[in-house]
């Protein structure tokens, strides 16, 4: 806590509230963690192999790419936007990168990652430009590019697929190798989460993302460069989806034109479950990452618990509704208690 200067003359009670909000946010992350642990414990009780090293590693690997995309999505959602094209961007990047590696087998992995980032950033730039300069709502613009980008993948792929045997060994190893028992993919995701977290919480440009989503009108009056920030958000989101495509190719080894189809909704679900407000202004990448992890655990655990496929979907849906309901509830409680703290009645 920072010291609050208290004037000596007849000061009313200090109008505070941040500690309470902190508690709620921490509670939110805590709630996700509890749900995670409960889910894992329940499943492990039925089948102890669920908590074997291999199984945990598989879950984390499965979550790694979703987490990556959820980070990008968080930045966009914070500005009151949404990017539905991430699945298609992932597919495009995965296919083009795999195709490139097939032709140039000597390419080092970092260069492949840069290629994917560049493809994704390009797609993101298109999204951002359409939204900002074309003044098209993000939902509509990215719904359009969802089909456009996917169309490009089909055009490039022309019905063919790239198999593991076509790709260089070193690249495929990157998809499965580990350092100190931790797969590279997970390390990449974690590094991205931390970097994005620092960017959003500690850099002016990052704070501007929150400001834009919190009140676009005030942002205009405050002179925040809305256009530049929005472009940044969509480029970042696209670039991370592009990177996700490279990881996807490395992990699965087989890439066809449908890679990543439908993934965008999983990512949006992860972000919402992770406590990022869908109308912008609040939420963290850590929450979104936890949300992605929770959804992955659920989809892995339910088959073990022999829960029907249908129920899996219903449970994810209930979680999303629950998350939104919780946000609403918490929001009301917080504003009520902030109001109470404001009043001068003791």
């Amino acid at each position: 806590m920072t010291l609050v200067a208290r004037p000596t003359d007849s000061a009313p009670t200090t109008r505070t509230g941040s500690t309470l909000l902190d508690a709620v946010l921490r509670f939110r992350a805590l709630g996700l963690l509890i749900a995670l642990v409960a889910m894992v414990a329940a499943t492990a009780a039925v089948n102890s192999r669920f908590v074997s090293q291999q199984s945990i590693r598989d879950i984390l690997l499965g979550a790694a790419i979703t987490i990556l995309l959820a980070v990008g999505m968080t930045v966009v959602v914070l500005t009151r936007g949404i990017d539905l094209s991430v699945g298609s961007v992932l597919g495009l990047s995965a296919y083009v990168t795999a195709d490139f590696l097939q032709v140039n087998p000597g390419t080092p992995v970092p260069v492949a990652m840069l290629l994917g980032l560049a493809i994704g950033a390009g797609c993101g730039l298109v999204n951002g430009a359409v939204i900002h300069f074309g003044k098209v709502p993000a939902l509509v613009a990215t719904l359009g590019t969802l089909y456009v980008f996917r169309g490009i993948v089909y055009f490039v792929a022309g019905g063919s697929r790239i198999n593991a045997s076509d790709m260089p060994r070193g690249f495929l190893d990157f998809g499965t190798d580990r350092v100190l028992g931790i797969p590279y993919l997970i390390i990449v995701s974690l590094v991205v989460v931390v970097l994005a977290g620092v960017f959003l919480s500690r850099y002016r440009a990052g704070r501007d993302m929150y400001a834009l989503g919190s009140s676009p009108e005030a942002a205009k009056l405050a002179g925040i460069p809305a256009g530049r920030r929005l472009l940044t958000a969509y480029v970042l989101c696209g670039a991370l989806a592009g990177l996700g495509g490279v990881l996807h190719a490395a992990r699965f080894g087989t890439v066809d034109a449908s890679a990543g189809s439908g993934m965008e909704l999983n990512v949006v679900a992860a972000v919402v479950v992770g406590g990022v407000a869908i109308f912008g202004g609040s939420g963290t990448v850590f929450g979104a990452a936890l949300g992605a992890l929770l959804l992955t655990v659920i989809s892995n655990a339910l088959p073990v618990l022999s829960v029907d496929q249908f129920w899996q979907q219903a449970i994810v849906g209930a979680l999303i509704l629950g998350a939104i309901g919780l946000d609403r509830f918490v929001g009301l409680r917080v504003s009520a208690s902030l109001r109470r703290k404001d009043s001068h009645v003791d």
């Binding site: 003359d9 109008r15 501007d208 002179g223 202004g281 504003s335 009645v345």
Partner: protein
Amino acid sequence: MSAMGSAPEPPQLRPVVSLDGVTKAFGSVVALRDARLELFPGEAHALVGENGAGKSTLIKILAGVHRPDTGIVTVNGETVEFTNTAAAKDAGIAVIYQEPTLFPDLSVAENIFVGRQPRARLGLIDRAVMNREAAALFARLGVPLDPERPAKGLSIADQQIVEIAKAISVDATVLIMDEPTAALSGVEVERLFAVVRGLRDAGAAVLFISHRFDEVEALCQRVTVMRDGAHVSTDLMAEMTIDQIVRRMVGRELGALFPKQDVVPGAVVLEVEALSRAGLFRDVSFQVRAGEIVALAGLVGSGRSEVVQAVFGIDPRDAGTVRVAGRTLPAGNSKAAMRAGVALVPEDRRQQGLILDLSIMRNATLVRRNRLSRFGFLTGGAERREAAEWTRRLQTRYGRLTDPAGTLSGGNQQKVALAKWLATDPKVLIVDEPTRGIDVGTKAEVHRLMSQLAADGVAIVMVSSELPEVLGMADRVLVIREGRLAGELSRAEATEESVMFLATGRGAAA
């Protein structure tokens, strides 16, 4: 009418900001026809005029929000064209807008420093320094706000404080304040003025817009009057009387500002008994008779608005009963209150009173839409007739009935908010700050209207922070202090001193 009185030129000084021959039109509505203004370093300059006179547009041009159609704007003698708000800021112009524009999700400190947060190594924001500087600003303003709390949930007064802190945190050479005191209590206003005087004496130019003439007199050396988008006059404050200023603003003589007619009160219509809500107010009881105007006075934050909101039922109540014409109203049920003939015109018209994106017509007829519809369908004709009738009766100025309500000036928005409720033919009318941020002419019209309604037998409860309004309009004054009824004054007993004494609990303070 051309300029009256010559602008006195302070010796050997160059204006830090000047506007000359500035025009601005929005579609067919001409907001500024011929705006002129010169601000000199070290002066506090009042800009007065009725609503719709073009003050807000003028400010937004100085702030870089709007660009003038024609005319010249200079800063330090050089012609400038602000393309955005950042450019105006860089030129040293800070603006406090009439309606606070904060980021609800960001902390108070971040709201102040957004876009220019103090940075440490690697360009990282230094939160500790930021919070410390924010706390120092609040200490300077004498308000103990926690820099780390989110702006969400702040009262309007506190939001205004944050806006002020934001403006004084940049070393502005020009400080523009659009009705900064509308939501502040007397003590807070005094503190703000002390800070503003300090800035002024340090060489800043201050442009002060207010409808409170006592404040204009207390703070400003010169006064510019605008009417219908054009410059009317600029004079030394000391050479002007308030009567003269008001005449120039409205271009006509005004009768008494607060013409409450004497009405013999009828039967008790509204009875409130031992109303309580934890943390907000406790044990509030009062009665209002038909034809009476009862004012709820008190400091900002004393719980006045909360009381009337609980009476109307948009807020819950923990204890107590509310009866209208003898029938008890269920708690927290505004629909039942409306059915019983209670109407509430809220304080914050932009957020609660009107739906700004909706047309003037829809807003004016919103609460009546059931009665105006046939077989469940709204028929445009009935809506239009009703809206046209009410806007005419309230002398509302607008382009077309189908324009969004947000395009209206503040006073005209308030009239539409009033029209909406008056059309329901209420038995009890609750008005919360009916004339906040409204110009003198419209104010008088609103007061005339309230007086006429009372004469027609409506029981009126008025929450107001403006003492002249309270003293002029109210038959009885109920003073709320810290959530409790501190006392009741009859019209004869109520004076500025007696009301302030009850409101503050001590001798007549500022």
